[in-house]
Amino acid sequence: MTAALLVVVAAVLVLRASRLARPPVPLDSRNEQRFYAWAFGASGLALHQALADKELLLRDGEVVCFGAEPPTPGRPEWGAVMASYYFPRQIVLVPAARESAAADPLPCRTRILVPPDRTLRIERRPSASVDRRP
């Protein structure tokens, strides 16, 4: 029984290792086939990397509005979740909360924009001057 089990496992491993050795990465298991494109494929590695890089450019506690254009159309929660994941030390206001954000005491002067080419851009507005006229 031991020998038979070892032969089966070894055959599976040889097959998998040969596929791992050549690009692209084999994402052929059941749930990889089902959910990879849905959960990650549409956004892509480059966008995740760009989000991770932008964290370094933001200040702790900075209020950030995340992109006018949702990076994955049809998945409005994607931007909210990813921005919250990648900017844990910032306060993220997301498109769905924009209306309430207008009345929020926290000024949203920093915006992370997602242009169609998926290269993220940070825009910072200068502080608005206080109008003291009667």
Binding site: V9, W38, H48, V81
Partner: protein, 439 residues
């Protein structure tokens, strides 16, 4: 983590490298569970716990337990005689299986939606300047990302990064470490049940080639740590039965079982079922006389660990439980279609990714039960009852049952595979403690 656990689980008497490696996996898992419990409890009191403090806590647990607890060497029943070349080949195949697993984890991105929305998200937010902070769970969008899920694994990730916000490489390294620990604990459980070294290695290699390892949806989620903690409890269950003269402490078993709800919500039902399995195993003819008060100690230690975890889950903002709303109406309406739901679940279990495991498990469990092997019967019953609980939830869920099965059943059953594999492999070995068993 291994140092933290080494006081509770003293090093083995054997000089065999494989036994020492498996012991290291066991000590590290026990140490991780103990450290997370103390760090989380201390953090909830408002003290700084991450960074150097968490290392201090782990070291203190190791020193205190070494000082307070008796240090009797860990022993295993002698392995049946077999050829050295067979053992060597089986070790090579097991090492190759783990290498392929680590290689794939290295090459794939961290892609699972639940990592970003639940597990990884919590780990990246729950510490603030060394303090445990769960207030973020009350703010959008966290209200929609299962805020009620347990915090054990996110706290562990944060301990392992010394308080630093964990990133992709941290989650990947931790996943691989838990994968290696699961294999070590699996082998230890089989060795405690009297299985030969080479067969234990071959079965462990099979587990390392299963969807729990190969399907990277579970990368960055709690399935692998849950499987490791279940196996650590199973090692104690089997050792307590096989080795009446050197029983491991009953409070440790209770502590490990009580830690399961702190890893994943379904850990609660698994803890109760494994507790029942332990009761059945303890009543075997060959199990020996139990010390007085043992059950009380066991119940108390389960309560001490599971109680706060459950209370914390209740204190966190409610998420969207599958049985929310009029679940009984949904359950009654779907009950006549139970065969259709079972067919959908069955389709998931005969997928080629399992390499034929679940049908073999059914046959092995039936054979073990026919042979009146209590170990196989008890552990198979845990798997069956947990699967029945999943069926119950699919019948009452507010989601479409077919979509719910499709999105979760394959993954959650992958976490049960190592436990089911222990039962299946034990069916091949005679139960030394059960005189009534057929052979």
């Amino acid at each position: 983590m291994a140092f933290a656990g080494s006081g509770v689980v003293p090093p083995p008497a054997s000089r065999d490298l494989a036994v020492r490696f498996d012991w290291l996996c066991f000590a590290a898992t026990v140490g991780a569970v103990l450290t997370v419990a103390v760090v989380a409890a201390t953090g909830l009191l408002g003290l700084a716990v991450f960074g150097g403090a968490s290392i201090g806590i782990a070291a203190s647990i190791g020193i205190l337990t070494r000082w307070l607890l008796p240090r009797r060497a860990w022993t295993l029943p002698p392995s049946p005689a077999e050829g050295r070349s067979t053992v060597l080949v089986s070790r090579v195949v097991l090492a190759a299986a783990l290498a392929v697993f680590a290689w794939k984890v290295h090459r794939v991105p961290l892609w699972s939606w639940d990592h970003y929305s639940v597990w990884g998200m919590k780990a990246r937010h729950l510490a603030e300047g060394g303090f445990l902070n769960l207030s973020f769970l009350r703010v959008a969008p966290f209200r929609y990302t299962n805020p009620e899920y347990p915090i054990g694994l996110p706290v562990l990730w944060r301990i392992l990064t010394l308080g630093r916000t964990p990133a992709w490489p941290d989650f990947k390294v931790c996943h691989v470490l838990f994968g290696v620990a699961t294999v070590g604990l699996f082998r230890l459980a089989l060795r405690a049940g009297g299985i030969s070294s080479s067969f234990a290695n071959a079965a462990a290699a099979f587990v390392a080639a299963s969807p729990l390892y190969w399907d990277t949806e579970s990368l960055g989620l709690a399935e692998m740590p849950l499987a490791a903690a279940i196996l650590a409890a199973v090692v104690l269950l089997l050792r307590r039965r096989e080795d009446p003269s050197e029983r491991p402490p009953v409070w440790l078993l209770g502590f490990l079982l009580g830690s399961l709800p702190g890893i994943k919500p379904e850990g609660l039902s698994l803890a109760v079922l494994l507790l029942a399995a332990g009761w059945v195993l303890g009543r075997s003819p060959g199990a020996g006389r139990r010390p007085p008060g043992e059950r009380a100690v066991l119940a108390l230690s389960v309560l001490v660990t599971a109680g706060p975890a459950i209370a914390l889950d209740r204190a966190l903002p409610p998420g969207q439980p599958f049985l929310q709303g009029e679940w009984m109406l949904r359950f009654s309406a779907r009950l006549p279609h139970v065969l259709e739901v079972l067919r959908k679940m069955g389709e998931e279990l005969v997928a080629s990714d399992w390499i034929g495991f679940w049908p073999v498990f059914l046959l092995a469990a039936a054979y073990g039960i026919w042979r009146r092997d209590r170990r196989v019967a008890a552990l198979s019953a845990v798997v069956a009852a947990q699967t029945a609980l999943y069926l119950f939830i699919y019948l009452g869920t507010y989601l479409d049952p077919a979509a719910h099965i499709r999105s979760s059943f394959f993954r959650i059953m992958s976490a049960l595979l190592p436990l089911a594999a222990v039962a299946a492999v034990l069916s091949a070995a005679p139960d030394a403690r059960d005189a009534s068993g057929r052979t």
